[in-house]
Symmetry: C2
Subunit: 142 residues, 2 copies
Amino acid sequence: MKLTTRTRYAVRSMVDLVNQPAGKPSPLSDIAQRQGVKLRYLEQIFIRLRRAKLIESKKGPGGGYFINQNPKSIKLSEIMKAVGESSAPVFCVTRNSQKNCPRMIYCTIKPYWGKLGKTIDQFFDSVTLHDVSIKYDSIDPG
Amino acid sequence: MKLTTRTRYAVRSMVDLVNQPAGKPSPLSDIAQRQGVKLRYLEQIFIRLRRAKLIESKKGPGGGYFINQNPKSIKLSEIMKAVGESSAPVFCVTRNSQKNCPRMIYCTIKPYWGKLGKTIDQFFDSVTLHDVSIKYDSIDPG
DNA sequence: TTCATATCTACTTCTATATTATAGAGGGAT
DNA sequence: ATCCCTCTATAATATAGAAGTAGATATGAA
């Protein structure tokens, strides 16, 4: 049950942006260097983030990417969605592809995969960009 | 966040075994046919399940695989573990590989990936083979 | 006009998963 | 004893999707 690097880089880069001076664009090359990620790869990720309106961009010298909203208002689930990561643990629990599985009528397992997907969804919905940007205080020892 | 086919086939095949006459070995070729999975692939999965003592085997004519314990006592987490699926969403939250990530000292995200992993773990720990073998009664509409 | 930046499209490489293949070991039946 | 059925083990190959690379273009500030 691994996350893709696209997702991980996306979250890391968003945290990186949060830590930059507010309103000041960061060139992607700087972000790539700070995060130790190849610029060309990060480009593709940032285009998605921008299209999802999670970040804004400014072209030309002095340009770059920046966040123009409160990190507390951005959920991880939005970042996931922007870069195309799905929480569905199997293909058959997403709405579109239900019809493709010939077992769906009598499959006794599927409802549990659905539950798992929802559990994961709830996690991503409950954690904000702000949360993952600050030092974690372990309240519950779970 | 997809499950591998190895995991899915493992769970499906275990359910298949539950539905066979108790104590009577099922030849793997039959299971493969019923499940629509290639025998050669299923062989590898079943060896792992047997090594984990989740199932037993009998060689020779009339032999095959069978379950010799209560499906209520087998957790999905045991099946996952047997076939090598991990709930860790990123490599750095498993104990062994912690040392490999140079960011672990100051990374503010990692604790949340750890939490996600635990959440997934809890799910797999809370669902038994019996659960996924019977028709699901949706009690909570969540 | 020049340069720094983002944006877009396409292509290549890589790797884990999935699949196939080959050989062997054990055991029941005749 | 021999045969065939079954599991067991390991190796080789194929595939798909992720990861990474490249080239060309658009935009805007100085």
